[in-house]
């Protein structure tokens, strides 16, 4: 027997992506909402559940208006019990539905670790291919601004370690929409990491439907001095750093990875072959971080291209401080990125 996992039509990733430029400017949260709503209209099996997603329109107003459109069978408020509703979602996915589980914060997903790490990513393997788990877990990741040590988690370093899951960390509204639509259509569990500090960001998002394939980095700046690799919120710090460096005549190749699993290492190596130096900017702790993984793969696959040791810019290796000034100093910031790039050019 099989579940409907196997009959999910894959989106057409060969279609050319619409231009990023335009005047249909919307917020990041609205792009997420459009992605979910479009997929829910297309496929009646898709539904959203989580704390406050229905009547309160989402703690961050991402699902605003969705209850009205799709009704309370598909936009479902849950009790404060992440382990319970994450498990409910996993069961539903195994039986052929396409749940989207919203965590108010990925910090709260830790209490559901057994469900999301032990069940979802391993189900296909443990069932010998009989049950897949086509589910999207999404929510805010990273320091949201004075939320203190326990509510400021960056879970990517922890969770990306697990085989069987996919991980998406978008940095802008355009990518967020195209990637979330692809996540909902994906046959595997997808961990979709948003950032509270980006939700109000505004950018053009095309009217036309599009899907962004996983494992393809976006080159946001072009240069041959140094390769900058980042994802999620720190991409914006990198853009600022690139502008500052460009004023000094230092042009960096900036790659926004967009997905961590799969990781577009080929684009990184290709860029490294041109620049021969690399700085990885990651908003999680340095030890066993995504940056560590990127650097490892760079050493494995691009060793002969290196003219300087790879450099990481992570958050500081301490629990997230509450004080605003300390939190700012703890995060990667443009100044640290500029210094890191210059270090590689010494």
């Amino acid at each position: 027997m099989t579940t409907t996992t196997l009959d999910i039509p894959a989106p057409d990733f060969t279609a050319p992506l619409p231009p990023r430029d335009g005047d249909r400017v919307i917020q990041f949260r609205q792009a997420l909402r459009e992605a979910m709503s479009e997929e829910m209209r297309r496929d009646h099996r898709v539904f959203l559940l989580g704390e406050e997603v229905a009547h309160y329109h989402g703690a961050y107003k991402i699902s605003e208006g969705m209850l009205e459109e799709f009704g309370d069978k598909r936009i479902i408020d849950t009790p404060i019990s992440e382990s319970g509703f994450a498990g409910l979602g996993i069961g539903a996915a195994m039986y052929g539905l396409r749940p989207i589980v919203e965590f108010m914060s990925w910090s709260f997903s830790l209490v559901a670790a057994d469900q999301i790490l032990n069940n979802a990513p391993k189900m296909l393997y443990m069932s010998g291919g009989q049950w897949g788990c086509p589910i999207v877990f999404r929510g805010n990741d990273g320091a949201g601004g004075q939320l203190g040590p326990t509510h400021s988690w960056c879970v990517e370093g922890l969770f990306a370690n697990v085989p069987g899951l996919k991980m998406v960390i978008p940095s802008n509204p355009y990518d967020a929409k195209g990637l979330l639509k692809a996540a909902i259509r994906d046959p595997d569990p997808v961990f979709f990491l948003e950032n509270e500090r980006l939700l109000a960001d505004r950018a053009h998002v095309p009217e036309q439907e599009y899907y962004i394939p996983f494992g393809t980095a976006a080159r946001l700046r072009e240069g041959d001095a140094c390769t900058l690799v980042s994802f999620g919120r720190p991409v914006h710090f990198c853009l600022e750093a690139c502008d500052e460096l460009a004023a000094d005549g230092i042009d960096c190749d900036l790659l926004d990875m967009r997905t961590i699993r799969p990781l577009d290492i080929d684009s990184i190596i290709q860029s490294l072959a041109k620049t021969n130096r690399i700085v990885v900017v990651d908003q999680s702790w340095p030890f066993s971080s995504i940056a560590s993984e990127v650097v490892t793969q760079v050493c494995e696959k691009g060793f002969d291209h290196l003219d300087h040791p790879p450099v990481r810019v992570n958050t500081e290796d301490v629990p997230t401080p509450y004080a605003a000034n300390l939190e700012a100093a703890y995060l990667p910031n443009p100044g640290r990125i500029v210094s890191a790039v210059k270090e590689t050019l010494r």
Binding site: N276, F303, D304, H305, L306, D307, H308, R346
Partner: protein
């Protein structure tokens, strides 16, 4: 008592050294014979071994920081001594530590090292560098272009060789290809023979990287070797009152004898070159002209001339461009006591080693007289700059067939021009002339060189 370890003098021309790698760190226990550091001198990279047991109390200089001979580089605490005490006892301005404050037990006196291998310099024989720090890209690039990293001076962090350092070497060798490669007249057989033994700068032109007919302006950073050549030759040319004396030897008999010997000894793998005869002649002539085999000693305000007992003939060897170019002087020790066959094999060995692996300090130091031979490029004559502390250098041109007038008869002979530059403080013109006369006579009666 804490043991102060200072920058040792590892060659007779060494004035400064650089710790390119510390093999110990503060707090490490050290046994006698442990390798403390890799030290780069003006000639090679050598290991510094510990003569004492103890614990590293302080490392006084950072990797990559050049420091004068005799200056403090580290402090060892003796057994039972606390690190802090040892450190405190020696924390007086390390840069001001003069040579003579060294612990005589712990350090060789300058100058002594080169003469007595048992002195307390590194106990192992000097060797060519083993560990070169280079970025992976620089390594691959150098490998792809056949450049030996030993020849490359690193400018990256901690002296690491980065890609642009290798590129600089490549650019330099590509840039200097065309002037070196002669569209020259065919060198004479004699010149070729000399070239076979001595030249490592075989003028094989590489395809030029620049589009034809267009030169490219660029700035090339100095390699270590180039910087040393620049410094020492300026010192020599400006500090030594040079003058030149030229003599021409008729080497017809020599070429004949050489051809004969080579034919007879070919089965034994012997292939004598004109240069081998020249080395032998120059070495033997020293016994009649000891001042040519001497050195000028400043003697701290009481200058003196030191006549030397050993005759060590230095042979200038140009290094191939693909190894970064430059030149080294290989030394044939006790050349006056070597037969032609031995001179020949030793010269060949040193030239090959210089070209392929680099020479050890021991193989380059202690020359008492230098021969520079550009005969293989077809030059008729040239002058050379004295290689200190030598007082003379012989610049040898090609042996070429020329008309000779002898007793009113015109004949064809093979002439070879030799120009000796001398230090007039030591060797006067007549002395140089007499020396060259002896050398000429020996070359013109080559049988005497066989006995």
């Amino acid at each position: 008592m804490p043991i102060e370890i200072t920058m040792p003098r590892l060659s007779d021309t060494m004035e400064r050294g650089t710790v390119i790698k510390w093999n110990v760190k503060e707090g490490d226990a050290v046994a006698v014979g442990d390798v403390l550091a890799d030290i780069e001198t003006d000639k090679a990279t050598m290991e510094l071994e510990s003569f004492d047991a103890g614990t590293v109390a302080r490392i006084a200089i950072a990797e990559g920081e050049p420091i004068g001979v005799g200056q403090l580089i580290m402090v060892l605490a003796e057994e039972g001594e606390s690190l802090d005490d040892a450190d405190a006892a020696t924390t007086s301005d390390p840069a001001a530590t003069p040579d003579d404050s060294q612990d005589a037990e712990a350090e060789p006196a300058p100058g002594e090292a080169s003469d007595s291998p048992t002195a307390r310099t590194p106990a192992t024989p000097p060797h060519t560098p083993e560990r070169v720090f280079a970025s992976p890209l620089a390594r691959k690039f150098a490998h792809d272009h056949g450049i030996d990293l030993v020849q490359v001076r690193g400018t990256g962090p901690s002296g690491r060789i980065v890609n642009k350092d290798v590129e600089a070497v490549l650019t330099r060798s590509a840039g200097s290809t065309s002037p070196v490669a002669p569209a020259a007249p065919e060198p004479s057989p004699a010149a070729e023979a000399v070239a076979a033994a001595v030249s490592t700068a075989a003028p094989t032109p590489e395809p030029s990287r620049a589009p034809p007919g267009r030169l490219e302006a660029r700035t090339v950073p100095l390699s270590n070797m180039r910087a040393i050549i620049a410094r020492r030759l300026i010192e020599s040319k400006t500090g030594i009152p040079h003058y030149q004396v030229t003599a021409v030897a008729n080497v017809g008999n020599l070429l004949e004898l050489r051809a004969q010997l080579n034919e007879q000894l070919a089965s034994q793998g012997v292939k004598l070159t004109v240069n081998d005869f020249l080395v032998r002649a120059c070495a033997l002539a020293m016994h009649q002209h000891p001042y040519v085999n001497s050195r000028w000693a400043d003697g701290g305000g009481q200058p003196a001339i030191e006549i030397l007992a050993q005759v060590n003939i230095g042979i200038a060897i140009a290094l191939p461009e693909e190894r970064g170019g430059g030149l080294v002087v290989a030394t044939l020790k006790d050349a006056d006591r070597m037969g032609l066959r031995q001179i020949s094999s030793e010269t060949r060995r040193l030239a090959l080693k210089a070209r392929e692996k680099g020479l050890t300090i021991d193989e380059m130091q202690d020359s008492t007289f230098t021969i520079s031979n550009l005969g293989m490029f077809g030059v008729s004559h040239f002058t050379a700059i004295i290689n200190p502390p030598n007082v003379c250098i012989l610049a040898v041109g090609a042996a070429t067939e020329q008309p000779i007038v002898s007793q009113g008869q015109l004949a064809v002979g093979s002439l070879m021009s030799m120009t000796m530059s001398s230090d007039h403080r030591v060797v006067d013109g007549a002395m140089a002339a007499k020396y060259l006369q002896t050398v000429t006579q020996l070359l013109e009666s080559p049988a005497t060189l066989l006995v």
